[in-house]
């Protein structure tokens, strides 16, 4: 298998090096990719959508149908992770470890599967690895709200600066994953439960597809945001800008929920009991 792998890799390498001469040189302004449709996008984006960021305009308006199905793919990946890994709650007793917060002593208790209520002097810790690290916990706790604020800024300011639903959604998801890593999975799940992810994920896709369907109902093409002008009381060009924002919010919700959902399923191997 190793010889075959080297052979196939060397053959592909040789073929690609042979074909390299046919590609345009790096950063050549006259290359094929720069000549047909992309100049039109750059020159017309302000006139047609009033969004200065051409990437956002192309993403959510000119190629909105493509992006809708990318969002659907992400939603499907989250659902698939859930169906592959999520286990039903097991019965029978289990050993749990508790740390006495005043003395730092750890005890091992045999109890039921149900996650017990929070005790005042005892703190439940994971069986595998749970150091008591004050610096990591405190710095992550301070960092998380600023991360979430930045994520919201990236989503909302995607029209005028690099950003949008995908990037902002990933930052929002990363903030919750950081909380789960620095504390433990139960802390993150207490803030944002499993049902919340499972609901936010399709709601995000629904906002996107629903905006498209609303345009259809109002008598224009699917995802033609100019139709929203009557509802939003603005001119059709500004309505496109607002339509892009609505769609980006949907994308952000779906991406955030999917990232957290996938992380929770993988890190706890589907048991939602102990994380990494």
């Amino acid at each position: 298998m190793r010889t075959l792998g080297i052979l196939v890799a060397a053959l592909t390498c040789a073929l690609l090096f042979y074909a390299m001469g046919d590609f345009p040189p790096w950063a050549d302004p006259g290359s094929a990719a720069h000549t047909h449709v992309s100049p039109r996008y750059i020159e017309k984006t302000m006139e047609e959508t009033s969004v200065p960021n051409a990437v956002t305009a192309v993403l959510a308006d000119y190629r909105g149908f493509d992006t809708m199905f990318e969002t659907t793919v992400i939603f499907a990946a989250g659902v698939v992770c859930f169906f592959i890994l999520r286990l039903p709650k097991k019965e029978g007793p289990i050993f749990r470890r508790y740390r006495h917060t005043l003395t730092g002593m750890t005890i091992r208790v045999k109890c039921t599967r149900k996650i017990p209520p929070v005790l005042e002097e005892f703190e439940m810790i994971d069986n595998l690895w749970a150091p008591h690290d004050l610096i990591i916990k405190t710095s992550c706790r301070i960092l998380v709200p600023f991360l979430q604020l930045f994520g919201l800024y990236v989503i909302a300011h995607g029209h005028h600066s690099p950003g949008g639903g995908f990037q902002g959604g990933v930052i929002l998801g990363a903030s919750m994953i950081l909380l789960a890593i620095s504390h433990d999975l139960r802390t993150a799940l207490a803030r944002m439960g499993e049902k919340v992810h499972a609901l936010l994920c399709p709601i995000g896709v629904l906002i996107y597809a629903g905006t498209g369907a609303l345009c259809l109902v109002l008598g224009r093409d699917f995802l033609d945001y100019g139709a929203l002008a009557g509802i939003l009381h603005v001119d059709p060009v500004t309505a496109r800008s607002h339509g892009i924002l609505i769609v980006e919010i949907g994308v952000g919700l779906a991406v955030m929920a999917t990232m957290i959902w996938i992380y929770n399923n993988i890190s706890s191997r589907g048991e939602y009991d102990e994380g990494l």
């Binding site: 792998g5 200065p52 960021n53 989250g78 999917t258």
Partner: protein, 136 residues
């Protein structure tokens, strides 16, 4: 000789992407560990992303955000001043923006499958899994 160096300078983005892609391809084919295969798949995806983004570059151009695009003055008359040569190609960036997030999502699915395989066979080595399958 200088001809060779100038052609390398012109095509160095393709050189890097070909090397990365071949590393990924080799890992997918030849490595026996399933997680290493998944890592190889991700290196392959990174190579494709690099390829697309490097195609979007344009000499003497800036990021595809229209300058002075804020406020009301830009509607109508001001928009004629936009020249496509001053901004890089937004299209590869749009395609790769979604591809990066989809790559993370598919990585999650691949890892989930790897976890299921590990739960069942207690190993992630391909030859050991195949040996267990033959015994049955």
């Amino acid at each position: 000789m200088s001809d060779f160096f100038s052609s390398v300078a012109d095509y160095y983005n393709y050189l890097i992407y070909i090397v990365l892609m071949v590393i990924g391809l080799y890992a997918i084919i030849a490595k026996k560990n399933l997680v290493k295969k998944i890592v190889g798949m991700n290196i392959f995806q990174t190579a494709i992303i690099l390829f697309y983004v490097s195609i979007g570059a344009k000499r003497g151009a800036t990021i595809p955000i229209i300058e002075h695009g804020h406020g009301e003055a830009v509607h109508g008359a001001g928009s004629q001043a936009i020249k496509a040569a001053e901004y890089i190609n937004p299209l590869p960036h749009v395609l790769m923006l979604t591809a990066i997030v989809v790559a993370v999502a598919t990585l999650g699915v691949a890892l989930a499958l790897a976890i299921r395989v590990y739960n069942r066979y207690e190993t992630l080595e391909e030859d050991e899994i195949l040996a267990q399958l033959r015994e049955k």
